[in-house]
Amino acid sequence: MIKSKIKVMPPDLAAKIAAGEVVERPASVVKELVENSLDAGAADISIHIVDGGKKLIRVYDNGEGMSREDAVLAFERHATSKILKDDDLCSISTMGFRGEALPSIASVSDAMVATKVAGEIAGTRIRVRGGKIEDISDFGCPDGTTVEVRDIFFNVPARLKFLRSNAAEMGRIQDVVHHLSLANPDIRFKLTHGKNILLNASANSDLKTRACDILGTDIMRGVIPVEGNGGGVSVMGFVSNSNITYPTTKGVFVFVNKRWIRDKGINYAILQAYKNMLMRDRYPLAVLFISLPPEDVDVNVHPAKTEVRFKNPRFIYDVISDAIRNAILQKNKDYPDGTVTALHTSVPQDRIREPAIHYQTQDIADRQAALFEKAFHGTNGISFPELNFVGQLWDEYIICNDESMFYIIDQHAAAERIAFERIRKEYYSYGIRGQILLVPEIIEVSAAEKEALDSSIDVIKDLGFEIEQFGGNTFILKAVPEILSGRGCSGLLKDMTEEICSFGKAARIEDAIDAILVKLACHSVIRGRRKLTRDEVVSLFKQLSEVDFASNCPHGRPVVKMFSKTEIETMLKRR
């Protein structure tokens, strides 16, 4: 007799495998639990971690709690209070919805839930170990829900082995809590690791106060509020000026409908907005909340829900880019009343359940806001023509001051930025001329790229490229912008096509043109040491004030560094 090799998995094994998708490491447990707390309308969430979450994860919330029946049901796979029919999947506005979290977590750990609905006399306590319910009993506990997860992966040694050091796992947990608390500044968040309090953010904060808690007041000093909308999409939040940058995207926090996500298209849109202001391979700080109708975004791409798919990505990227660019422009222009409107409004209030209780911490929040306000106004846009010229350092740097600040200006960088803006304006105002090719170049593209290129032919033409369809997936390049002749244009065009394809927009051509204009600008202005007369400095300042992005040279180096009087006094121990 032939023994059959294929067998149906026993349910507990299937559960462990399914758990793997949701529960990857302690941080994913924290994420799921905190999201549940948020969905339960909690106003206070405390997270206590021991040994990077390997030993214990405890999440307490003061949300609405669960009845005994609901609590038992919550451990059933795909039991959820949030979706009941197919249609609901298209209008998800809660954080969790897959009904996977609790059973998944319970199947790979020793879990305990204690929950009580307000008004009930007693709560319920359920203990589940390795997916099996071991004990259900009445329990005296405060309103809300507490979930304790001990000995995660005790029954999945393979996964246990792949966990990293306590510190590394804790770092991930911290990231998760940061994301969730940034998205919910109205809710109190407390995160402790053993005896250390890592975060204690008061309730009823607005975004900027919350951001100060998480990112530090120092960093928040230089931020620029961002606000923008269009076609049902709205963007709000803040970005750093070009002084604060990171080599990775770690300072980029993007939330779509309050859900933290990672999207390389959005990262790219952010970078585009900073064009020529950041050094190569540097990313700004950006906290952005993007709101759009739930039906325009698919969040159910990945069990961890950190990736989303937009119905109309190109449009959304544009709205984001424009909003940031406008904010930066505004910041550079406005003086002295650079407004911080967007920061005053907190995150869109579209939560479906009202927070239960608000803690009385308003005064602390107010004080923080005031502090922040002060710091923020301190570094607002500089009015160059009003600066008092003190002198020149080593014939390379201009020293000047106003009432409260002391400035060092890199004269070459300043002159370069002015020249670049001028040359750029000229170049585009003159109308870009195309140099016709002797032998047209043939470009082969993929089917997806073909569509992208087809729809952008006119835009590309405005930039001096002349492209024609040549049948199939082939295009012929007939003319290139004069300024780019003598450079690898078919390669550029190919890169650009890929770019249009993946980001819906091509900046490649403009970038390539800018790169040449930067070179021209660099060579057309004062370089190295030069003594400047007062008149020259005055004229330089006047021109700087007329330039849109005066704060950085086109290579991305800062034009100006400043120190407040207070900083100098502190430095010299006067304060």
Binding site: Y430, G431, G434, L438, V439, E482, R487
Partner: protein, 365 residues
């Protein structure tokens, strides 16, 4: 190795090969040249793999042998030596001593065995070709060669031979210079070859040497010999664009202009063009051409010149560099400009039966 050599004999060769020897090399031996002393002559070898050169100079050999020495230092030392007589000897550990008058240099060499071997060629297959013709053909085309490394197939001069004719062509994708000359010697060439620009520049240098020019194809290289020097140049692999097709046949607007008048008008008007805007506009009407350039930053310039033309009015824009390049290398008093419309290629010829055709693409304005 020990020998005595005359400074004058040595210096020109050393100077010529400096451009072959690379400054930044991954292979240190390539910044050296190889000296081989034997039979009352010294052979000097230089190579950058693409181009290899061998020159033979008479010398008084006291002890034969070989060595390699840093090309640049050897040249700089030789140039400055006080006396005509130079004594070169190699001691232990490839240490080279150069003596002249009261100066003495000790230079560390590298053994000749490490130097790449000179490509083999068969002197028998070389045919004599007219030096003057080659010189003219190179001079009239080399300026149009592309300097964009990535467009490999047009970074050299295309050379082909048909019955009784030799042809050269060069392009950078925006203009094309081509020339064909009759020849009496039979040149065996199955298909055209692309000679890299750097190799062409080396050929130009040896054209002044005594004796007749010999050339031939071996494998994927081309060999040139003139006087005491042999050059082996590795050819560029790839297809040169079939340029015959891009030379328009139906340009019906024929203009004759004084070359000098046109060139100086372009130079004047282009003062107001800039690094980023190199185009100027040519408006043509009966007997008259006006040149116009405009720079939003500075202003504009207009000049009118007399031409011989009897057709319809038209306007076209060209890059000034592409115009001046060709006007500068031509030598006739007049040139012929053949146009069709503002979007089609223009042709410049000398009006003589010299086989020269220059094609220039207009700019879209």
């Amino acid at each position: 190795m020990k020998l005595t050599i005359q400074k004058n004999n040595l210096i020109k060769t050393l100077q010529n090969i400096q451009s072959i020897v690379e400054r930044k090399v991954t292979l240190p031996i390539l910044s050296n040249i190889k000296l081989v002393a034997d039979n009352n002559k010294i052979e000097i070898y230089a190579t950058n793999i693409e181009t290899s050169c061998k020159s033979t100079i008479p010398a008084e050999i006291k002890k034969s042998g070989d060595i390699t020495i840093n090309a640049r230092k050897f040249f700089e030392i030789t140039k400055e030596l006080p006396e005509e007589n130079i004594e070169i000897s190699v001691g232990e550990n490839s240490r080279i001593t150069i003596k002249s008058g009261k100066s003495r240099f000790n230079i560390n060499g590298l053994p000749a065995s490490e130097f790449p071997s000179f490509p083999e060629y068969n002197e028998g297959v070389l045919t004599v070709i007219d030096t003057e013709v080659v010189k003219e053909m190179i001079d009239r085309t080399i300026f149009a060669v592309s300097t964009e490394e990535y467009r490999h197939n047009i970074t050299g001069i295309f050379f082909e031979a048909e019955e009784g004719k030799v042809k050269m062509a060069a392009t950078d994708g925006y203009r094309l210079a081509s020339i064909e000359k009759p020849t009496e010697t039979e040149i065996k060439l199955n298909k055209g070859v692309i000679i890299p620009r750097r190799g062409i520049l080396e050929i130009k240098k040896i054209l002044d040497n005594e004796g007749s020019l010999l050339a031939g194809i071996t494998d994927n290289s081309m060999a040139f010999k003139k006087g005491n020097t042999v050059l082996i140049i590795r050819l560029i692999e790839g297809e040169f664009p079939s340029y015959g097709q891009v030379i328009p046949k139906d340009n019906n607007k024929l203009i004759t202009i004084s070359r000098e008048v046109l060139a100086s008008a372009i130079r004047r008007v282009s003062v107001l063009s800039s690094d980023k805007i190199r185009g100027i506009k040519f408006s043509i009407s009966k007997g008259k051409m006006s040149l116009y350039s405009n720079n939003p930053d500075l202003g504009d310039a207009l000049e009118e010149i007399d031409i011989k033309y009897d057709g319809d009015d038209m306007e076209v824009a060209f890059n000034v560099d592409y115009m001046l390049d060709v006007l500068n290398i031509l030598y006739t008093n007049n040139i012929n400009l053949e146009l069709k419309d503002s979007g089609s290629a223009g042709i410049i010829k000398t009006g003589l039966d010299d086989g020269y055709t220059y094609v220039i693409m207009p700019m879209r304005v």
